[in-house]
């Protein structure tokens, strides 16, 4: 598999230029053609901002202060201009289908707004392609729903419209920003199945930002775990979920309930809370909460590095001496 999208050394800043805060510092990852890549972390870990930076759609007040973003074209990775990549190479799905669909446009017009602006599709072309797209994302009655307004649809159908809108320009990678968080569980499942089917059918790469480890487990090939604006561990989902190489990932996984989790005992939790962008400790940012921390952890910022005896990469200094028995794989399948 060849690399499709490469983010390296991404730094995002907010606040004044003299004393900026860095919600995201030196984040990097690669996504191959047709691959499903998960970006997991708690709220505030910088995962959504990272995703928005990839399309250059950062919220007001957040700026990219460093890093390179590259997309494969004609077999070569090249830095891209956002205006060029949006729609054509990179599509994006947003968390809230209620607010991400323009309320003053009919569903059919909304779905093909991108290609109409990009490729100058005629009204007729747009109309028939809109019906194809709405059918592809599983709208029960595309013809009727194309004429409806977004507010007349349920949350699940709205998210399908959002997906159709992102697919209209035929992107090669689909960025999904917590696309199921705002939906109820039954609908979540439908949308996840839909994304999986579209990915297989179209050979699409997917970057999935979520705090739901179960979703990553189910959908993704590889994963990067983010904590306090950094990637602390990255690797294949199978490896990370069974043999985490960073105490934070291990803690996250232990706190995830499984069907076998005893109900009369509290869930395992990591003590303390994630530090905000302004209160990050020197050295390893997880050290103050880490049961394995050594004095050296506080002084040294440890970059992602290969781990002996594991295909994952970890930012933990002690990874070599922490290799305990693997977590029970069966318990983690949801």
């Amino acid at each position: 598999m060849t690399t499709l999208l490469r983010i390296s050394d991404l730094v995002l800043e907010t606040g004044s230029a003299e004393a900026p805060l860095r919600p995201v510092s030196h984040v990097g990852f690669e996504v191959s053609h047709g691959e499903a890549f998960g970006l997991v972390g708690e709220s505030g870990s910088g995962k959504s901002l990272t995703l928005r930076a990839v399309t250059g759609l950062l919220p007001e007040g957040v700026r990219q202060a460093g890093g390179t973003l590259e997309l494969e074209r004609d077999g070569v990775l090249r830095p891209y201009r956002f205006a060029e990549a949006r729609g054509r190479g990179i599509g994006m799905i947003f968390q809230e289908p209620m607010t991400a669909l323009n309320p003053t446009m009919r569903v059919g017009d909304l779905v093909t707004a991108g290609p109409r602006a990009r490729y100058g599709w005629s009204r007729g072309t747009a109309r028939s392609r809109a019906l194809d797209l709405l059918a592809e994302v599983g709208m029960p009655d595309p013809k009727a729903q194309a004429r409806m307004w977004p507010h007349q649809l349920s949350g699940g159908l709205r998210q399908r419209v959002m997906i159709a809108m992102a697919l209209a320009t035929e992107p090669s990678v689909l960025l999904c920003d917590e696309p199921t968080t705002a939906l109820d569980v039954a609908v979540q499942d439908q949308i996840l199945r839909l994304l999986h089917r579209i990915r297989v059918e179209r050979g699409l790469a997917i970057v999935f930002v979520t705090h739901d480890l179960g979703v990553v487990r189910r959908l993704c090939d590889r994963v990067a775990v983010m904590y306090a604006g950094q990637v602390v561990e990255t690797g294949r989902v199978d490896d990370v979920f069974t043999r985490p190489t960073h105490p934070y990932s291990a803690g996250l996984l232990r706190s995830m309930p499984t069907p076998d989790t005893p109900r009369d005992r509290p869930l395992a939790a990591i003590p303390g809370g994630q530090p905000g962008a302004g209160e990050r400790p020197e050295g390893c940012r997880f050290a103050p909460r880490c049961a394995h921390a050594l004095p050296a952890c506080a002084g040294l910022e440890h970059a992602l590095a290969p781990v002996l005896g594991s295909p994952s990469r970890s930012a933990c200094l002690r990874v070599a001496d922490l290799g305990g028995p693997p977590l029970d794989r069966k318990a983690l399948i949801v």
């Binding site: 759609l57 007001e60 949006r86 947003f94 323009n102 309320p103 003053t104």
Partner: protein
């Protein structure tokens, strides 16, 4: 909303306007019953005998019970009979018919000015929120709201019409060209106090739309350029200003009363001012009714426009 839903919406709004109009008629009728002053005395003069006054009261129907007077009033209004002026020389309906085109042209031109001024400044201000242009426009807008319309009218007459000679010093025209020329300065004087309100609403609408998730989602889907501005910014930002414009037309209408006096335009406003000075009750009553009905109509149109722009609007 589907086509039929819209049709139903308009019908519903029209039906709602009927009781409102009746209440208006009652208020306009009651207005003159509660103000002090005797219309008969006004007609006959202070030295008229009691018998003359009584005869005039009977002639005017003022001796009948109030509810009957109202019923008679309703009947007359429906047939377009609003009585005569105090001197008896002209029908009030004739007065209204001759003044209406003047006031309508004035309002139309000033609405165009208001929309143009508000639109241009809002777009400029919203380019960079809190930027230099935004703050400058904000200050000028505050002045615009504060400037008294009659004073601005005089300033325009003395500062523009007099030195340039391009516009008449008051008065109306008799051909479309002279009419439009005569309307420019008074319309401008009217717009200046109203445009800032519309500008502020439009500006915040544009800024809000640009910050919205649907704007980001559209960009992510490859929408850009004029399509992005037109369909994902202006279309959404236009909803609040359109309903506001209906309310502002009311403001324009009351401003027209002032401006028509300043510029000596033979419109409904000038008639109203003169009638008030002469205590000409029939004229005041007729004009108040026309103005009130105009406000009802404008709000009706505004509601319908908003429903067309924003599909979420339901009643």
């Amino acid at each position: 909303m589907t086509g039929r839903g819209r049709f139903r919406f308009v019908g519903k709004r029209l039906l709602q306007a009927i009781p409102l109009t009746l209440v208006l008629l009652l208020l306009v009728f009651a207005m003159l019953k509660v103000v002090p002053g005797d219309p008969a005395l006004q007609v006959a003069g202070p030295r008229a005998s009691a018998a003359t006054l009584e005869a005039i009261r009977v002639h005017l129907g003022l001796d009948q019970p109030v509810w009957l007077q109202f019923v008679h009033y309703l009947g007359r209004v429906v047939t377009g009979d609003l009585g005569t002026t105090a001197t008896g020389s002209t029908k009030v309906s004739t007065l209204i018919a001759s003044g209406t085109p003047v006031t309508l042209v004035l309002l139309a031109v000033s609405t165009v000015f208001t929309v143009l001024i508000a639109g241009a400044t809002a777009l400029l201000a919203a380019r960079r929120p809190d930027g230099l242009a935004d703050r400058l426009i904000n200050v000028v807008a505050a002045f615009g709201v504060g400037v008294p319309t009659f004073w601005l009218g005089i300033v325009l007459l003395a500062g523009v019409a007099l030195p340039t000679g391009a516009f008449p010093i008051g008065g109306w025209g008799d051909t479309p060209a002279t009419v439009l020329r005569a309307a420019v300065l008074p319309a401008l004087a009217l717009s200046v106090s109203v445009a800032p309100v519309l500008m502020a609403s439009l500006r915040s609408g544009i800024v809000e739309a640009r910050r919205s998730e649907y704007h980001a989602a559209a960009q992510a889907a490859g929408v850009r350029g004029w399509t992005l501005t037109r369909r994902f910014v202006l279309r959404n930002a236009a909803v609040p200003p359109v309903s506001l414009l209906a309310a502002l037309t009311t403001l324009l209408l009351s401003g027209a009363v002032v401006v028509e006096s300043t510029f000596g335009l033979p419109g409904l406003g000038l008639s109203l001012t003169q009638a008030a000075q002469n205590r000409d009750f029939n004229v005041i009553q007729g004009l108040t009714l026309v103005f009130s009905l105009a406000v009802v109509a404008v709000n009706l149109v505004g509601d319908v426009l908003v429903a067309l722009l924003d599909p979420r609007v339901e009643v």
